[in-house]
């Protein structure tokens, strides 16, 4: 079962220099909320930003990770 720490580390590894917080919404290890602040999102649409985060987990989202709620922003602020 994935933990919020594990998810946080994997997102951080995929977005070097980012600020990442992950919360386990239900405590059950399947509904998470991730907040990611990274300059990689610069100039991208919200869809593209969220897709980058989903890409870290591939088919696990919808599988073991039933739900991953995402909030993305750049260090300069929300686009």
């Amino acid at each position: 079962m994935p933990t919020s720490d594990e998810l946080q580390q994997r997102i951080k590894a995929a977005f070097p220099g980012s600020l990442v917080t992950v919360e386990d919404l239900t405590g059950g290890g399947d509904h998470f909320r991730a907040e990611v602040v990274s300059d990689r999102f610069d100039g991208l649409s919200r869809i593209q930003q969220h897709k980058l985060v989903y890409d870290v987990f591939g088919a696990e989202v919808g599988g073991p990770i039933h739900a991953l709620s995402i909030k993305t922003s750049t260090p300069g602020g929300t686009p």
Partner: protein, 133 residues
């Protein structure tokens, strides 16, 4: 129905309906909090939209995600383009972007309406409901 037919059906639904929501359950009876929240945003704006329940056949979800490149449900399309899932739609609703995208009027106290988990009764028609049964 073959997978190809399902994919074609989904493609047509996205093309033919200006506002197309793929969700779990229906706007009247959403089967998931995220779907409920997304439908509630559209309901609060009073826009007409088509909704399709992806639950009756697992392949609907597989083909939809294959088509859109988006892994989760719900998925909202406007004029053929993927707008987002529950998080993006809620953010856009609260900021007023969704209202302007849909040409609707932003209600007062928008943030509070979106926070409700239960969807009010849909104001729009739901022509595609369960047509894949």
């Amino acid at each position: 129905m073959t997978n190809t037919e399902i994919r074609e059906f989904i493609g047509n639904a996205i093309e033919e309906n200006r506002v197309m929501l793929f969700m779990k359950g229906s706007p009247e009876q959403p089967a998931c909090g995220f779907s409920a929240r997304t439908a509630a945003c559209l309901n609060a704006l009073g826009v007409r939209y088509a909704a399709l329940d992806i639950l009756p056949d697992q392949r609907i979800r597989e083909e939809l995600s294959g088509l859109s490149g988006w892994p989760t449900i719900p998925q909202l399309f406007v004029e053929g383009e993927l707008v987002g899932g529950a998080d993006i739609v809620t953010e856009m609703y609260e900021s007023g972007e969704l209202a302007s995208l849909l040409g609707a009027e932003q209600p007062e106290q928008a943030a509070e309406v979106a926070a409700q988990s239960e969807a009010p009764v849909s104001k729009g028609p739901v022509p595609l409901e369960n047509r894949l049964d």
